[in-house]
Symmetry: C2
DNA sequence: CAATTCTTGACCAGGTTAGTCAGGAAATAT
DNA sequence: ATATTTCCTGACTAACCTGGTCAAGAATTG
């Protein structure tokens, strides 16, 4: 689960798209570009990946643009980020290491930590749909109550 | 809560330091460099920030190195990342935007999302201490049970 | 039908920023 | 004084973001 600015831009654009495709009309990228202040070229690159990922459908020609492939309630934020960012094969602690913890032995001490954090992020972003974002039903979702966090500083 | 590779390196180095400072000896960066395969120069930059953040103490000269400022049980992973990464003043959705959601009105639709995600990450990483990492007590901490996630695809 | 306009699709080139590393200077213990 | 180690400054690399060009498909208009 890579968490880059590119993923944030993609979610912003998708939220804009979901909010403005009333009665299923196609939304041109030029609109999103002016509203969200993202360059048109960059949006084209992002939506190319989103289309290949099956998250949006494109309609060419006048009156064309992009549409959500599925309703906003079924489009999860995690899917958007995964479609836009590179696959980033497993939590590699060190980018180009040959004998790292990527494939062979569990060498890196922090490997479990990043894997678990990635899972945490993925679970969170999978629980949020585009509809949640545009309806602002996001706040107050954090606070993992089931964890072993025994509140180390307050106690 | 910025989550970059720099923060990961810092945690790896701190975990190594915590694991090898038996009976409070100072650990030179050259050791950590060879063990963790991080360049010495980069480690120096990271530990300079960690020292300013009050997480480690330095001892110069021969036999010198770094020591944890507090025991590993009281050093939280979140503090390490916060010390190393830039403050990243509030969840800025767009880096250099003037009329963005940084200061003025709540313009950006996804602002709440990133803020909540940052909180989620912070809560998680605050619940993990360096001692937890080197003792491998990290797995199985994710799974936010208190959230509103009603399992949208399985149902 | 033919021309025009609107929009995606694919591509490349440049500028900015974060990430990473190398070298040398300052400090301290022996 | 010399070796060891932290500290500081500069340079290189890759990722991010923007801008531009050109082609392809679809609706509108004559």
């Amino acid at each position: 689960m890579k968490l880059s600015t590119k993923g944030r831009y993609a979610v912003m654009a998708m939220a804009d798209l979901a909010g403005h495709n009333i009665d299923g009309r196609a939304v041109p990228l030029a609109e999103i570009s002016s509203r969200q202040e993202i360059s048109l070229s960059y949006l084209e690159q992002l939506f190319a990946k989103l289309r290949r990922g099956g998250l949006v459908k494109s309609v060419r020609g006048p009156g064309g643009g992009y549409r959500l492939a599925r309703p906003a309630e079924e489009t999860r934020v995690a899917d958007i980020i995964l479609a836009v960012d590179e696959p980033i094969a497993a939590t590699r602690c060190r980018p180009g290491s040959t004998k790292g913890c990527t494939g062979t032995g569990a060498r890196c001490v922090t490997h479990d930590l990043w894997e678990e954090l990635g899972r945490q992020i993925h679970v969170f972003l999978s629980s949020v749909s585009l509809a949640d974002v545009i309806e602002k039903r996001v706040l107050g979702r954090a606070q993992p109550c089931g964890t072993v966090a025994e509140n180390r500083e307050a106690a």
